[in-house]
């Protein structure tokens, strides 16, 4: 075995700011990225579909975590913002003939604008009151999605093509996986960089102690709107990716239930943690799939279970969220920290 350096031997502040500090973590992140490229080649379409849904959920959950976990501004309208991204992208590509790689960022920007408009009440409202204001945003946007038919085609739903970039069509689950994975890696990197630089510190300062943040020169209104904008931008990107993947979108896909599912993701994963958003997204997407396959296995012996599946699913969701709030209020990210800290000193824990 090689002798392992045990201790901080950093000699410059620059080294102290590097994201992956040890050769060990650098090695593993490279292994992770390489396997992200190779492993999908051996997966079947169903697994790839689940992976794509996870990737999209990671982008959306990151957005909500920036707003709610880092800036402390609770939002119940995230599902609707996903919807705006989805419809914006669909309209730009299908009706106006934009190429996908332009429509994708445009969808993000359009959603960011909506987010900023609905973020304006955050200057005056806090906590539960802001939650209600964003709930209003959810319902207003849902109404718009049903009634602005020339864009959304109303309740009938809108057909969307698979995206293509420069003639290359992402028309299989495998091809789409690479698109989603690339976007998710970019989103995670950008979000991580933002939270460790000036805007991110301002966000956390607003969450922890907004009065002293203001006295230290942080413009509360500007930074709250910025958090809303960035959060909705990511929601817009996630919505756009989602729309082009499922290829038919209706207003029912973006209800309050989706908003709450995303809130559950960041609570379970860990509020105010980038890696927590990832854990939460993976968990919340996998959970129904695991439950579904379980009920498939059990249906031989208990035929009733398939009929009751929907109800059981909601019940288990609820139980799991309560379980996390009671036993791990800081989410899976905190558990992850504990595990890392344990192995750091293993086997000599003192």
């Amino acid at each position: 075995m090689n002798a392992h350096i045990c201790g901080d031997y950093k000699t410059s502040y620059k080294k102290d700011m590097v994201l992956f500090q040890t050769p060990f973590s650098k090695f593993w992140i490279i292994v992770f990225l390489v396997s992200l490229c190779i492993i999908p080649l051996f997966l079947d379409d169903y697994v790839l579909y689940v992976c794509n849904m996870i990737g999209i959920a990671i982008i959306g959950a990151l957005g909500l975590n920036i707003l709610t976990g880092f800036t402390g501004q609770i939002s119940l309208g995230h599902g609707a913002f996903l919807g705006i991204g989805a419809y914006a992208s669909a309209y730009l590509v299908m009706d106006l003939g934009f190429p996908f790689f332009i429509a994708l960022p445009c969808a993000g920007v359009i959603t960011a604008m909506f987010g900023m408009v609905f973020g304006i009440p955050s200057l005056r409202l806090k906590g539960l009151y802001l939650a209600i204001a964003t709930l209003a945003a959810q319902f207003i946007i849902e109404y718009l999605m049903v009634h602005v038919e020339f864009v959304t085609n109303g309740v009938l739903g809108k057909m969307v093509d698979f995206p293509s970039i420069m003639g290359f069509s992402f028309d299989t689950d495998l091809k789409y996986f690479y698109l989603v994975a690339t976007m998710a890696v970019i989103a995670v990197t950008v979000a991580k960089n933002i939270v460790r630089t000036r805007p991110g510190r301002a966000f956390i300062a607003i969450r922890d102690q907004y009065i002293s943040a203001e006295v230290m020169g942080v413009n509360l209104f500007k930074y709250k709107l910025m958090a809303f904008a960035f959060s909705s931008f990511l929601a817009g990107i996630a919505g756009s990716l989602w729309a082009h993947y499922v290829t038919i979108i209706t207003p029912e896909h973006f209800t309050i239930g989706v908003s709450i599912e995303y809130l559950a993701m960041i609570i379970i994963g860990g509020m105010g943690s980038i890696i927590g958003s990832i854990f939460g997204a993976v968990f919340m997407v996998l959970l129904p799939e695991v439950l579904r396959s379980l009920s498939g296995v059990l249906s031989g012996e208990f035929p009733m279970i398939v009929n009751l599946f929907a109800a059981i699913k909601e019940g288990i969701f609820g139980l799991i969220i309560i379980g996390f709030l009671v036993y791990e209020p800081d989410g899976m990210a905190h558990r992850w920290q504990m595990i890392k800290a344990y192995w750091k000193l293993w086997p000599f824990s003192y």
Partner: protein, 273 residues
């Protein structure tokens, strides 16, 4: 510093002109006037509820007085928002420690550098070139403050886990990170033991002398106040009772009465005046 009655008139950095502030029927401040000269340590003392912290909140823009003006270097800042007052060079600490509990010591101090930094969502998100250099430069500045306050051992600790004395010290550091010309300190020694109090007094004197920072101090520890202040002003029930050198204030009969409370007359005089 008692014998500066020479020809040089010190430059006034902060001036309050008949500030009145009331909450409903309660008068927190009643036409308070004072002038703080550049480079001095100016202490505000007075019993609990005298309006000292309210005065600080007025200066930093958190409260808007009903009457009167605050002039900073001759500029009216009474109606400016707090985040616009900070870049002018005014920083403060709070009576009850108001740090960012979820952040590390370094991040708290870096937030103090907020007004000196530029990177936004885009440059921060890319963390490349300019933004990276900026982070690095300000990290060095912050390390200077860590060194000054002797808190190297806790630089990576989340603030919520620190002891009260260290939190107080860090709050001073966060205010210093802003590089203020005028530093408002609201009871920096409250709840500290003798050693911590002495450390804090030393820091304040160093800041005042080495960084040429004007210090406006609220403190109940009379020993410290009388030792380090150039000027002391006494507030009682929202009104100015006396202003002068520590010696003058200690000998002022109205102040003695207010603190020792031996006669009703002071209270009544205060009301009538």
């Amino acid at each position: 510093m008692g014998e500066e009655k020479t020809a040089v008139v010190p430059e006034v950095i902060l001036e309050a002109e008949s500030i009145s502030l009331s909450f409903g029927g309660v008068n927190a401040l009643l036409s308070v006037d004072f002038k703080v000269s550049k480079g001095e340590i100016y202490s505000v003392i007075g019993p609990n509820g005298a309006g000292k912290s309210s005065m600080f909140n007025v200066i930093s823009g958190l409260y808007r007085p009903q009457r009167g003006r605050i002039l900073y270097k001759g500029k009216d800042i009474t109606t400016l928002a707090p985040h616009k007052i900070a870049p002018l060079g005014i920083a403060r600490s709070f009576q009850n420690v108001e740090l960012f509990k979820g952040m590390t010591v370094i991040d708290n101090l870096l937030l103090g550098r907020h007004i000196h930094m530029k990177s936004g969502l885009f440059s921060g998100g890319l963390f490349f070139g300019k933004a990276q250099k900026e982070e690095l430069h300000h990290r060095e500045v912050v390390e200077g403050i860590i060194d000054f306050l002797e808190i190297e051992h806790i630089r990576k600790k989340p603030v919520g886990t620190l002891s009260y004395g260290l939190q107080k010290r860090l709050e001073l550091g966060r205010a210093l990170a802003l590089e203020p010309e005028l530093l408002l300190l609201d009871e920096p020694m409250a709840g500290m033991n003798l050693e911590e109090t002495e450390d804090m007094a030393r820091f304040i004197i160093d800041i005042n002398q080495e960084r040429a920072t004007t210090v406006l101090l609220i403190e109940h520890d009379m020993g410290v106040v009388m030792d380090i202040s150039d000027t002391v002003t006494v507030l009682n029930f929202g009104e100015l009772l006396a202003t002068g050198t520590p010696q003058e204030v200690q000998e002022n009969q109205a102040v003695i009465n207010a603190y020792l409370g031996d006669e009703e007359s002071v209270f009544l005089a205060g009301r009538a005046g």
